[in-house]
């Protein structure tokens, strides 16, 4: 693996002529690259293909020994029976509500704070930015017990509010991303708007929101993923099965049904994976660019 990794990566834009003597090794290295990537891709996809296979198996075939890789017949009813066992669609609605509200909250709050921290000049700005970006590295475990007690005391335990509230206060990492983007926007834009009498709120809503579309879409996607995937917070804050999110419901589905009903489980699991997958294929560019913008953080 290391040998082919060390091969020179041909870059976009470097269309220099290759000496004849180098062409044959280049073809070999390219073939080796395809073989390696292909093998890795198959390995990566295998667990997912296997999930699909399990999800399609009948009750009899699921416990057959030795296990088959391809199902003999497609038991599509698993996609009805499975979800019914955990009230899947109710949990889906719960998860959608929590996810959509907290995503909207995270987007709005992070973009607003990001604007303030990068485009309004006021004393203490640097300090606050240092505190906000430093807090990215503060281990979240510190809030585990105190916040649960706080929500118990406020009577908010076993509601969705503890899952939604944090997003309204701007997530440090999103504020950081937003600031990076705001700083790339030329100053003269707000200066001319200021001369025309526009206040910061007007500049933010009328000028910046349209200009920063890529970053707030990135924030929306990341925040959607955080909320959709979150397991520990719902585990601590929710007790009634009626309020469960899918992460919680799916985890308890597994511990209740240990063993034999994996075809139901995997069919349901595929439905659980579907919304983020659909979102990913619709907005693939933003998923990858968003992480990329984390990668270009160099200050």
């Amino acid at each position: 693996m290391t040998a082919s990794l060390a091969q020179p990566a041909t870059r976009a834009g470097s269309t220099r002529r290759v000496p004849v003597a180098h062409r044959v090794p280049m073809i070999i290295s390219r073939a080796a690259w395809y073989v390696l990537c292909g093998l890795l891709a198959v390995t990566m996809l295998l667990p997912l293909l296997w999930t699909v296979s399990i999800a399609l198996k009948s009750n009899g075939e699921i416990n057959q020994l030795p296990p088959t890789f391809f199902p003999h017949e497609f038991e599509l009813s698993n996609f009805v029976t499975g979800p019914a066992q955990i009230h899947f669609y109710r949990l889906l609605a719960n998860t959608l509500i929590v996810t959509v509200v907290s995503t909207a909250g995270a987007m709005a709050s992070s973009m607003i704070v990001g604007y303030g921290i990068s485009r309004i000049d006021f004393p203490g700005r640097r300090l606050w930015f240092a505190l906000i970006s430093g807090s990215i590295f503060v281990p979240g475990v510190i809030g585990l017990i105190p916040l649960q007690r706080l929500y118990i005391n406020l009577g908010l335990i076993d509601t969705w509010l503890p899952l939604i509230l944090p997003s309204l206060f701007g997530s440090p990492i999103f504020i950081f991303l937003a600031r990076q983007y705001y700083q790339s926007i030329p100053r003269y834009i707000d200066e001319s708007a200021t001369i025309d009498g526009a206040g910061h709120w007007t500049i933010f809503t009328r000028i910046m929101v349209p200009l920063t579309k890529p970053v707030w879409i990135t924030i929306a996607i990341m925040s959607f993923q955080f909320a959709w995937n979150d397991y520990l917070n719902p585990l601590i804050y929710l007790q009634s099965p009626d309020l469960f999110t899918l992460s919680l419901g799916m985890a308890s589905f597994l511990s209740d049904q240990a063993g034999s009903q994996y075809n139901y489980y995997m069919a349901t699991n595929l439905l659980f994976m579907a919304p983020p997958l659909v979102l990913f294929f619709l907005a693939q560019r933003y998923f990858m660019e968003g992480l990329g913008s984390l990668g270009t953080v160099s200050k």
């Binding site: 990794l5 020179p8 990566a9 870059r11 470097s14 690259w33 395809y34 990537c37 890795l40 891709a41 990566m44 996809l45 295998l46 667990p47 997912l48 999930t51 030795p66 296990p67 709050s109 607003i112 303030g116 921290i117 006021f122 906000i132 590295f137 503060v138 281990p139 510190i142 809030g143 585990l144 017990i145 105190p146 649960q148 944090p166 206060f169 701007g170 440090p172 100053r187 200066e191 200021t194 910061h200 709120w201 933010f204 993923q225 995937n229 397991y231 520990l232 659980f272 994976m273 983020p276 997958l277 693939q284 998923f287 992480l291 990329g292 984390l294 270009t296 953080v297 160099s298 200050k299």
Partner: protein, 322 residues
Amino acid sequence: MSRTLTAPPVDPMTPEPATTVRRRRRLLRRDTIVGYLFIAPAIFGLVLFIGYPMITSLYHSFTEWNGLTPPQWIGLENYVFMFTQDPKFWPSLRVTLLWVVISVPVTLAAGLALAVLVDRSTRGVKIFRTIFYLPVVLPAVAVLTLWKYIYEPTYGLANQVLRFLHLPTSLWLGDARVALPAILIVGVWSVGGTMMIFLAGLQAVPAEVHEAATVDGAGAINRFFRITLPMIGPIMMLQLMLGLNGAFQTFNQVAILTKGGPGTSTNLLMYKIYNDGFADFLSSPQLGYATAEVWVLFVIVMIVTIAMQRLTRRRIYQGEGG
């Protein structure tokens, strides 16, 4: 650059020094108020989600507290019990450190290797990038429950593949020596996020630098260690710190895959804290003791994070100087 906003360009034809100064001050004061209004959510957030928990939990770590009756001050007793009597604490700390020391470098190396692999413009590279990234998109619980069945000894995919290759099978999560590496494999499977971050860093390295080095006769390995690594140093540092932070607080994997077992082989500190703090709603939770454990974990993470930051920063500067 930032100062220009409060001082709009004054028309040089009508010099009014006194009013300009006053106007500038008024603008500055207005900007201060507006600025703080804009960042107010984050300030409240810092106070509510970091300041408040830090202060209250530091106090609670010195108390005995079951969550029903008010906390009783017991001084250092929680910490003394933790370090000298709790039979599960040292094994848990040991396995946590082991997990961090192994999983963080492996994950970073795998992510970087994949990034280097797909950092080219060959036809089809985008498909491979998408496939390698795909597991990251899936919900953590969906991935973990899927892997739990993959590791199932009789019907699971892992042993199915091993049998197909005529290799000895394993009990996977049921074997105390294999359980932790098995959890790590799940992490490596979803390393696509790390890959994408590194890829962005690699693509920011100008192609000319590589070409110049190639012309000067630098081999591929040499170029990787002398050019690529130093240039992505800051990203490496960020990834390292986020990776350490995450690894110390690993919870989902253990909670879903192994429940800390077999024995104490995967009883990571975060999972132990959860169990001591709230797992048993029926018996009284030991909130004071769990909070003391939180503080031990918190201090370790902060020390390691700061130390890594110092260390890597120095190394990067040396790289630039040399």
